[in-house]
């Protein structure tokens, strides 16, 4: 099946880093991980949800995801239609699923949860100015809680679109919808998210 490319290529420097990583440069691997780590961590936290987060450290899942990605660098078709982030996201999804199964079997002691700094690393300057009176972390946690309070299909489409960087046609494949339906779903999801944020923390408004 031929699919159109909606998402940008990995930037040239990412391709360069990937190539170097494949050739065994640990520095290149570090650079890639440093660049994508925060975003992936946020994704992992959201995918895990509060209940799994009480049992698992998202940082640990992140590390395992990164490690697996590292081992499978050769399998990533860099420059194709899938972004690096989508690829990482898919590995993370599997990782979380495996972990969740493990816990379903009752395999690990629980009681650890360290909330983390959602999107703080990725927060860009606009937000910084916008909420300058607030702690970024407080804002990020608010956002995280808001996303988690969304209906499942809203949450999922935001994760796929914003974190895994999938195109709408790719999202459509995941969700069994047309790309246009996905666009509408995403639009409604973002609106719902905006409402949740405003309802949860009126003080966050500028």
């Amino acid at each position: 099946m031929l699919r159109s490319r909606h998402m940008p290529h990995p930037p040239d420097d990412d391709l360069q880093l990937l190539q170097e990583a494949r050739e065994g440069s640990i520095e290149a691997v570090n650079a890639l991980f440093a660049k994508y780590g925060q975003k992936l961590l946020s994704l992992i936290r959201l995918r895990m949800g509060p209940s799994l987060r009480r049992r698992l450290e998202s940082q640990d899942v992140l590390q395992h995801t990164m490690l697996k990605a590292y081992e499978r660098l050769d399998q990533f078709a860099g420059g194709g239609e899938t972004s690096l982030m989508a690829w990482f996201g898919a590995i993370a999804r599997n990782e979380i699923r495996d972990q969740a199964r493990f816990f379903a079997r009752g395999g690990r002691d629980v009681g650890r949860d360290v909330p983390l700094d959602l999107a703080v690393g990725a927060a860009h300057h606009t937000l910084r100015t916008e909420v300058s009176r607030l702690h970024l972390l407080a804002q990020a946690r608010l956002l995280e809680q808001a996303i988690e309070s969304l209906e499942d299909n809203h949450k999922e489409v935001i994760l796929l679109r914003r974190f895994e960087e999938l195109s709408f046609p790719q999202i459509g494949e995941h969700l069994g919808k047309t790309p246009d339906a996905c666009r509408m779903l995403y639009s409604r999801a973002m609106a719902a998210l905006t409402f949740r944020v405003r309802d949860a923390a009126p003080a966050a408004r500028a």
Binding site: K39, L62, E71, A122, L127, L136, R183, R188, L193
Partner: protein, 855 residues
């Protein structure tokens, strides 16, 4: 839903589907709705900006890097940045001035949660105090409210890199690594797991020649203890950036929690890299969760480097082959044990890891060693060599006797068509020995390592009870064990076993050549033990029997025959029959040279023997030549700290003393004693010998108090070893008496020397040259005490003994003459004075000593 919210949904739909932002005014004119709509759009844009997106990935917000303002600190440049904090170079100005590294929390992260995590880190870090861990001095809050830690500033380079630059040897690297292990262990005891040990976190700090490893960045440590402190402090980029050092369970945490053994794994990777310059797995070939691959050995990884191995070895001050040899075996095993996929099979702690390396240093079996018996046997023997000193060869032979035993049995099986049952029994014998040595392993079930003595006792008991029906095997084992006891100075046990062996062979009707040689061997060993106990006549009987059998069965050119000559030479020597002793040793030397050539290592001991006898006969220069030849061979074959090297230094010290170079004497003897103290039990006879000899060189330098201490220590050891009566005890007693007299206590001096004299008489008989010493010393005291008649008698006796046992014109004879002149003058014995003066002149002429100084 309000109108404004519906309008906002519409606005967002246009933006999402059509990719454009409608002006809010296009959607509503109602001021209240418009205001709410604008607020929603503003919130949305903030949220949109906060969420990641492909175009935002490169726009990671970075806090401006302005130096923090901290009371009592002058902050300099930014050193680095981690997931949570920045590290600044700074100088503390009060209460003391010192350079520090300031770790300051990033702007924007100072929430209560992060504060809490830092608090957890601060507590665990502050609890640690170890030279190998960068210390935390204090913590506080910056002017703009960010927490900070002032830490020891480590100026160093990654340990692997710096070791390479300094071309440090494997030994030195291991020593440094042991310190790292100790540091990590200390942290573990404080409940802190590092979780990110890697070269860039283990720096080598230099202070002159002093190298100190420093583990930094315990900031990601995770408290082991449960409860409040149970907080993860993982810094993102650092951990995930270094999978190469990560343990399999860190990579597959679903199986189990990460614990201290995870650090052991990382330490294993670090050691691997220190040893061979590369990590166990290629960067792409990591231990994978679940099916983690077994790590290769360092030596095999080095071999696989091919041509690239040479620079690696050079950076370890070695050649490739040498480095490979060093690594193969124990070091390979030690590293592999740390790198076990199953953490249960790793060292349970960094301290255990360090201790195994130290076992390697001490030549003890390492915990990581394979369960096989050959290893333990080899290791046992090697360690023995160090622990029994000059008796060393006995224990080396313990190993070869074992090997020879099995070979001999095979031959016997063929030649005599022994029964299958006996073959099985023979195998049992081999197993018996092997099992015995295995007990020396630190992992053996008894827990503590058995002492050599305990081990032998067990063996001796079992030989007695389990091998009754195999006399030849039994006798060989008895001889082997007897030698081992002898090496340990346990003469009674040794003698009993060896007599048992002789009896076993004699009653077994030893008539086949092999049997006869076995008997000769048992007799020879029995003579060795008997000689050591001071019963020289009895020893001579055994020794002569052994020599006769060897001459007849093995032939005059045989090494065994030569060995018997050496033994007889030693016996004659102990009896004071120096010319005969020299003859025996020279015969042994010529047999050995003919059989093995002039550079054979075996010659070293014989050269030494000939040298000492030359020395005894006054040929000091000739003695020194032989000694130096022997020393070179010992050093070449055995290394610079071998016990035999110590013996050689000892002998060179004696030569120096005879050449009256007492400074050199003390220096040589001190070298000998240092080696012996390092290798031997504190009450080993060789240490007593070293102490005694140093005392004799300290005395003529006027260092009487030092000499007295040395002699008393020597006496104590010798009494412990030899009991009440022994010539060696007598020597030290005499020396002590002399030094007491020199210190002014004539009566005390006389008492000690008399005791020595009587003991020499008792143990050596009235003709022994050692008596000349005690007579001479007693005469000196007589002179001091104005008992001239007694001095005269003693000095005459002194002269006679020396002339008889040494040589009529031996320079030592002159020692007896020196004090005599004054005595003879004061007694007005003019004829005898003239005679003495003539003899003195003759000796001086013979040895070109020049005229005697006026007294």
């Amino acid at each position: 839903m309000s109108d404004a919210r519906q309008l906002f949904e519409r606005w967002l739909e246009v933006r999402t589907v059509e990719g454009r932002d409608l002006p809010a005014e296009d959607l509503t004119q109602d001021p209240a709705s418009l205001k709410e709509l604008r607020g929603l759009i503003e919130s949305f844009k903030a949220i949109d900006g906060a969420l990641p997106s492909p175009t935002h990935t490169a726009l990671v917000f970075e806090a401006p890097r302005e130096p923090p303002q901290v009371h009592r600190f002058e902050v300099g440049e930014l050193l680095g940045e981690g997931g949570m904090g920045e590290v600044w170079a700074a100088r503390q100005t009060s209460p003391i001035t010192r350079p520090v590294a300031l770790k300051v929390i990033k702007r924007g992260l100072d929430t209560a949660q992060v504060m809490h995590r830092f608090e957890a880190e601060r507590q665990s870090l502050a609890a640690m105090a170890h030279p190998a861990i960068a210390q935390v001095f204090e913590a506080g809050v910056t002017a703009d409210g960010r927490p900070y830690f002032a830490m020891e500033r480590v100026t160093g380079t990654a340990i692997t890199h710096r070791c390479d630059q300094l071309a440090l040897s494997v030994q030195r690297r291991l020593e440094l690594f042991v310190e790292v292990c100790r540091g990590v262990h200390h942290a573990h005891q404080k409940g802190v797991i590092h979780r990110d040990l890697k070269p860039s976190n283990v720096l080598l700090q230099e202070d002159g020649d002093l190298l100190q490893p420093k583990i930094i960045d315990f900031g990601i440590a995770k408290a082991v203890t449960q409860g409040e402190a149970h907080v993860t402090l993982t810094e993102l980029g650092q951990v995930i950036g270094t999978p190469a050092y990560m343990s399999p369970e860190q990579a597959d945490f679903s199986r189990q929690d990460v614990d201290t053994r995870s650090d052991v794994y990382s330490l294993g990777v670090l050691l691997f890299e220190l040893l061979v310059g590369v990590r166990p797995f290629g960067d792409r070939d990591l231990p994978s969760p679940g099916g983690a691959a077994a790590a290769p050995t360092p030596s095999s990884r080095l071999s696989a480097l091919g041509g690239r191995a040479e620079p690696v070895a050079a950076r370890r001050d070695a050649r490739t082959q040498t480095l490979l040899r060093t690594l193969r075996g124990e070091l390979d095993w030690i590293v592999l044990k740390a790198l076990q996929v199953d953490r249960e099979k790793r060292y349970s702690s960094p301290a255990d890891f360090a201790e195994d390396i130290e076992r390697y240093f001490r030549n003890e079996p390492v915990e990581a060693g394979p369960p096989g018996t050959a290893y333990h046997l080899k290791k046992f023997v090697r360690r023995h060599r160090l622990s029994v000193g000059v008796g060393v060869i006995a224990l080396l032979a313990l190993g070869s006797a074992f090997a020879g035993l099995t070979v001999g049995l095979e031959r016997a099986l063929e030649a005599e068509a022994r029964t299958r049952a006996e073959a099985l029994l023979s195998q049992n014998v081999a197993d018996f020995l092997a099992e015995l040595f295995e007990r020396a392993s630190p992992t053996a079930e008894l827990g503590a390592e058995l002492s050599v003595r305990e081990l032998l006792d067990q063996g001796a008991d079992r030989i007695g009870t389990e091998l009754e029906d195999q006399p030849r095997v039994r006798s060989r084992l008895l001889v082997t064990m007897g030698r081992a006891y002898n090496g340990l100075g346990q003469y009674e046990d040794a003698s009993a076993l060896l007599k048992d062996a002789v009896a076993t062979l004699e009653t077994g009707g030893a008539d086949a050549p092999d049997d006869e040689l076995d008997l000769a061997k048992a007799l020879y060993e029995l003579a060795e033990v008997t000689l050591a106990t001071g019963a020289y006549d009895e020893a001579e009987t055994y020794s002569q029997r052994a020599k006769a059998i060897r001459l007849r069965v093995a032939g005059p050119e045989s090494m065994a025959h030569g060995q018997s000559h050496t033994q007889l030479g030693n016996l004659r020597w102990r009896k004071g029959l120096y010319p005969e002793a020299l003859e025996h040793h020279e015969t042994a030397l010529s047999i050995q040279e003919a059989a093995l050539g002039p550079d054979a290592g075996v010659l070293a001991k014989t050269l030494n023997n000939v040298a000492i006898l030359r020395m005894e006969q006054g040929n000091f220069e000739g003695a020194r030549d032989y000694m130096e030849r022997g020393l070179a061979l010992f050093k070449r074959d055995l290394g610079p700290t071998h016990p035999n090297v110590a013996s050689n230094y000892n002998n060179l010290g004696l030569v120096a003393s005879h050449l009256t170079d007492y400074g050199a004497c003390v220096a040589y003897l001190q070298k000998a004693l240092d080696i012996r103290r390092e290798n031997l039990a504190p009450d080993h006879p060789d240490i007593a010998e070293g102490l005694n000899n140093i005392g004799t060189c300290l005395h003529p330098q006027g260092r009487f108090e030092d000499a007295e201490v040395a002699f008393r220590e020597a006496i104590a050891i010798r009494r412990k070893v030899h009991g009440e009566q022994h010539p060696d005890i007598a020597s030290s007693l005499g020396n002590l008496g002399r030094v007491r007299a020199a210190l002014g206590d004539l009566e005390d001096g006389r008492r000690w020397i008399r005791e020595a004299h009587d003991m020499f008489l008792e143990t050596l008989g009235p003709e022994h040259p050692y008596l000349a010493f005690t007579l001479l010393w007693l005469a000196h005291i007589d002179v001091e005490a104005d008992d001239l008649e007694s001095a005269h008698r003693r000095l005459i006796r002194c002269r006679e003994i020396r002339q008889k046992s040494l040589d009529p014109l031996h320079p030592s004879v002159a020692d007896c003459l020196t004090p005599h002149f004054g005595v003879l003058k004061r007694l007005h014995l003019d004829a005898e004075l003239g005679e003495a003066e003539a003899l003195d002149a003759e000796i001086r002429e013979k040895y070109a000593l020049g005229p005697r100084d006026a007294d």
